[in-house]
């Protein structure tokens, strides 16, 4: 069985950010990703990021990815395994992988699970019809592969992803007539909402999709108004012609690997679902198994990068590497995280972290 010093599962913003301090410290890092490219969901983020300069604010996600990959990709201590899916994680830090048709195991001194999240779906009639796509899927199709998901898209959900993907659909030449939000108010940043509203997207709150209409794929959507318990109100139905219904209804942390290995897990609604119990060092309950990014709780990419950097530094320290001013560095990163979570949009995450017990 192959042995490595640090295995990072997932090469999104969190995993990439963790690799840098580890490599700088002198650790040998194996990075595993199921895609054929590094970057996770950064590969499709064509918009400018929020935050401050420290988190590359105002740069586009795809450009931030390039910077992060450039910083590490030629490092002699880095090994990358792409098109490789980690299918098992065991308490003795053995991970089992599948690459194409090959199955193999790797044992690592330290494991960092940065597996990210999966997009949730929404129950409604015909929600399995081709053309009902997750918002991130649509973004991947457009921005990574240059393929339009359709010509006319009904967007469901007004979180930042729904708002941003609506804008990106229009940039790709796709019509977005309407965006529905089940809650009373818009969930994401108002600047994103205003940006698409002035371009003609009709944002409607207290509304959702009742059913998708179509034989082999979506031809229209039936929508309706919701009451305050989020139940549809009969008689308020409208038909919206569209060939795509895009669901942006939240993300769930991909904790399966950590659960399989027996890590302590807690259901925390505010963080998106089941999350590992962690401490401030991003250590899980399993020895030398760390985690960071969305799998530890759904947040923005900028926070994922900071949590990755902290986890990377903590693993390096635990493995005995000497890093100058590490305490100050880590405490600065924690301050940055606190700052990002300080506003009204950070409230959910603050409540969620309280429940996990991270102070």
């Amino acid at each position: 069985m192959r042995r490595v010093e640090v295995a990072i599962i997932g090469s999104g913003p969190a995993g990439l950010a963790a690799a840098k301090p580890l490599l700088d410290a002198g650790a040998k890092v194996l990075m595993i990703d199921r895609s054929d490219m590094l970057g996770g969901q950064l590969t499709k983020q064509t918009h400018m990021f929020f935050g401050s300069e420290k988190q590359h604010a105002s740069k586009r996600g795809i450009d931030i990815l390039k910077l992060m990959v450039d910083e590490i990709q030629y490092h002699e201590n880095l090994t990358v395994l792409t098109e490789t899916t980690v299918v098992g994680l065991y308490q003795d830090r053995v991970i089992s992988c599948v690459k194409h048709d090959e199955y193999f195991k790797i044992q690592a001194d330290y494991i960092l699970v940065a597996s990210g999240a999966s997009e949730k779906s929404l129950p409604f009639e015909n929600n399995d019809l081709p053309g009902v796509y997750a918002a991130g899927a649509v973004q991947t199709l457009m921005n990574v592969y240059g393929v339009k998901p359709g010509e006319r898209v009904l967007m469901i959900g007004s979180g930042n992803i729904g708002l941003i993907v609506s804008y990106q659909l229009m940039q790709a030449g796709v019509e977005v007539p309407m965006l529905l939000e089940a809650a009373d108010t818009i969930g994401g940043y108002l600047v994103h909402a205003s940006k698409i509203r002035r371009l003609g997207v009709d944002i409607r709150t207290n509304m959702s999709v009742k059913r998708a209409i179509g034989k082999a794929s979506v031809e229209a959507a039936e929508i309706w108004r919701l009451d305050k318990h989020w139940q549809g109100i009969p008689g308020t139905e409208e038909i919206v012609p569209c060939d795509t219904i895009c669901l942006s209804v939240g993300l769930a942390p991909l904790t399966e690997l950590l659960q399989q290995a027996g890590a302590d897990i807690k259901y925390v609604r505010e963080l998106g679902g089941n999350v590992p119990i962690i401490n401030k060092k991003y250590q899980t309950s399993l020895e030398n198994v760390y985690t960071c990014g969305d799998v530890a709780g759904i947040e923005e990419a900028s926070s994922a990068m900071i949590s990755g950097e902290i986890a990377g530094l903590e693993i390096a320290r635990s493995a005995g590497y000497k890093i100058d001013n590490i305490d100050q560095h880590i405490s600065r990163l924690h301050d940055d995280l606190t700052n990002l979570r300080n506003g009204p949009h950070g409230e959910k995450i603050r409540i969620g972290l309280e429940k996990v017990g991270v102070k």
Binding site: G51, V191, K195, L199
Partner: protein
């Protein structure tokens, strides 16, 4: 109500504008109505005209005496929530961020829309700026009648070429 529709009220919009006399010179109008963790407008301004404190969730504050209307914040704002406006001889000249293709051409007549996306007037493109440092966010200079000063926000997306 902006929290429900994405459209700010006229009162909200007016609060972000300086006195009309001040607008004889171009000034940035920042429409960042809710606290978000973000500060590139502050850090990109070469004249220290926009201030956000250490807590980056605090809404930006602009000093119109210092603002030159250069437009650097316009293409650095991740929310595309800033434009530059000037009032001159019965016309407004605005610089708006634009991230669509194709770009409009100088002297082209375009449809100007309000914050609800409704067409309010035609405008004339006076200049199209897209340098390397703007990183794909173009600045379009549009001229239209002064009476639309508080309404005009962007142009309808142009299709095809």
């Amino acid at each position: 109500m902006i929290e429900k529709t994405g459209v700010p009220s006229l009162e909200q919009v007016k609060q972000e504008f300086p006195d009309k006399v001040v607008l004889k010179k171009p000034k940035a109008i920042i429409e960042c109505y809710k606290e978000i963790p973000c500060n590139p407008c502050h850090t990109s301004c070469p004249f220290d005209a926009i201030f956000i404190p250490e807590d980056i969730n605090v809404r930006p504050k602009i000093d119109f005496d210092k603002c030159t209307g250069c437009g650097i914040c316009v293409y650095n704002c991740p929310g595309l929530a800033i434009m530059v406006t000037q009032i001159k001889e019965g016309k407004i000249l605005m610089k708006i961020p634009y991230e669509f293709t194709p770009l409009p051409k100088v002297d082209q007549t375009v449809n100007v829309v309000n914050r609800a996306g409704e067409k309010i007037s035609e405008g004339i493109v006076r200049k199209v700026q897209l340098s390397e440092k703007q990183n794909k966010t173009a600045l379009i200079h549009i001229e239209l009648d002064e009476k639309y000063a508080y309404e005009a926000i962007t142009i309808e997306v142009l299709h095809g070429s």
